[in-house]
């Protein structure tokens, strides 16, 4: 069971450790905005992304468990030929030709030791084969005609926020786009297909509501033990797929909100998944001022509402898409909120321990696997 957690926040990278109790062990890069972190289970390397207001996006890597960090390369969009007309987005605005945000970062499979995948705003997917020392834009996806129809969700520009490397085959990678549906490659990025059939966008006119490439999955996760099963927390609900991205089904929960950003699936039990709901698109706060986690154990037929150890009055926390995670055992969970609260559970969410209520706004939580 993982004993360390990396927490990327608006104001630095925090390391949480399990001692007598969960403790804030240290903060690195204090005051720097960190949208994303990664703990690579293959070699123990740690990565932290930063978004400096003036100085752009940066990546740092630690090969000694976080004792020291070194700045490495960031994904760079290719040079635009002089005089080339700008690409226009779906609203007619020029799409940036520069990196706006590092929004997702995942390790490749064990058979691809240096491989990292990086999803960015404004929509570029990048690949590294040398632990992030260099990056290349995956042109097959960037040049796909459907990519140009992606739209910004909450951000001004579209972005890739979720990357799932298939445990059966490292060349099979799926990704989630806000807003551009779910995409799959089965040949290490040579070809791509949109795989969001069955998803429904309540924010589009009825005739476009089922357009796969217009869906806004907030977060996509894949079950390790049953990789044909995926879960999505979508902009307007929860979706489940049990057939290798052939078709999605909407999961209804008549008893509680299904709006939110994060989702975690049990690594050994594809029917168990967790969510941290908010009220709705229009009211992005905890329901009735009470922070809760919802859990299904039967593939979405029923949900439990888990509250033990979580604030139940005048709490307005929202949990962002990368700030809910389950560890490799499926027993330990962590989530962090926009108002700087961090909660850990050792029993699949039955009981929660509050680590802090006054961290900076939390963007990403990552269990650090023991290597």
């Amino acid at each position: 069971m993982s004993q360390r957690i990396l927490v990327s926040t608006r104001k630095g990278l925090f390391t949480i450790e399990r001692r007598a109790r969960w403790t804030i062990a240290k903060v690195d890069f204090l005051a720097n905005n960190s949208p994303m972190a990664l703990a690579d289970a293959r070699n123990g390397y740690l990565y932290a992304a930063f978004s400096h207001g003036h100085f752009g996006s940066k990546l740092h890597r630690s090969t000694d468990g976080g004792k020291t960090w070194r700045e490495i390369a960031v994904p760079a969009y290719p040079a635009v030929p002089e005089g080339a007309p700008p690409e226009l987005d779906m609203w007619g605005k020029p799409l940036p030709t520069t990196l706006q945000l590092i929004w997702s970062l995942e390790a490749g499979g064990p058979d691809q030791p240096g491989r990292l995948w990086c999803g960015t705003i404004p929509g570029g997917l990048f690949r590294s084969n040398d632990h992030g020392d260099s990056w290349e834009l995956v042109r097959t996806l960037w040049d796909h005609p459907s990519r140009k129809k992606w739209m910004g969700g909450g951000a001004d520009w579209p972005g890739i926020h979720s990357l799932c490397v298939d445990p059966r085959d490292s060349r099979r990678v799926s990704l989630g786009v806000s807003s551009g549906g779910v995409w799959l490659t089965e040949d290490d990025g040579a070809t791509w297909r949109c795989r969001a059939d069955g998803m429904r966008a309540a924010y589009l006119p009825p005739e476009q509501a089922y357009e796969p490439n217009a869906q806004d999955p907030h977060r996509l996760v894949q079950c390790r033990a049953a990789p044909e099963v995926y879960w999505v927390q979508h902009h307007n609900g929860i979706f489940h797929c049990g057939n290798d991205l052939e078709r999605w089904e909407e999961i209804k929960n008549p008893h509680f909100s299904t709006f939110g950003f994060g989702v975690a699936v049990h690594p050994k039990d594809p029917k168990t998944a967790w969510f941290v709901p908010g009220v709705s698109d229009e009211q992005r706060v905890a329901v009735e001022g009470q922070v809760v986690v919802t859990r299904t154990r039967d593939g979405g037929q029923t949900f439990e509402v888990l509250r033990r150890g979580l604030p139940q009055e005048h709490a307005y926390d929202l949990t962002f898409r990368h700030a809910l995670e389950v560890d490799e055992t499926g027993d330990r969970l962590v989530f962090g909120t926009t108002t700087g609260s961090l909660f850990v559970s050792d029993d699949q969410g039955d009981n929660w321990h509050c680590v802090s209520t006054h961290l900076p706004p939390i963007y990403c939580t990552r269990f650090v696997p023991a290597v």
């Binding site: 003036h54 100085f55 752009g56 700045e71 520069t98 990196l99």
Partner: protein, 113 residues
């Protein structure tokens, strides 16, 4: 217009004189705010334009490049460059002239957060 032509004429004469006398270096100073991320001590560099001067600085300090310029080579949105006390006009091409021994300041715009 006449004044502008006269200004350019003087600049050109200055460059020719500088070429005749040998290189005269511009002095480049970076904002304090950048120093906590990447060391950018005051330095000197040759060049007739902001682009040439900055590229010479970055040749010796490659990590600093991405903090000041984006991957298309344009000045980052919230960065400013002053030459001889005047803010440069060409943020994309960095073609503004740098007279010999000019002082170049690489600054950040103020912002919240």
């Amino acid at each position: 217009m006449k004044q502008r032509q006269s200004h350019q004429f003087r600049l050109e004469m200055t460059f020719r004189l500088a070429h005749f006398l040998g290189p005269a270096m511009a002095k480049i100073t970076f904002t304090q705010a950048i120093q906590r991320h990447v060391a950018c001590p005051p330095t000197e560099a040759e060049g007739r334009t902001v682009r040439e001067v900055l590229e010479q600085v970055f040749a010796g300090n490659p990590l600093a490049r991405g903090y000041v310029l984006d991957e298309q080579g344009a000045l980052r949105k919230h960065m400013l460059v002053f030459v001889g006390g005047q803010q440069i006009g060409d943020r994309t091409g960095l073609s503004d002239a740098v007279p010999p021994e000019a002082e170049v300041f690489v600054m950040q715009a103020l912002s919240g957060g």
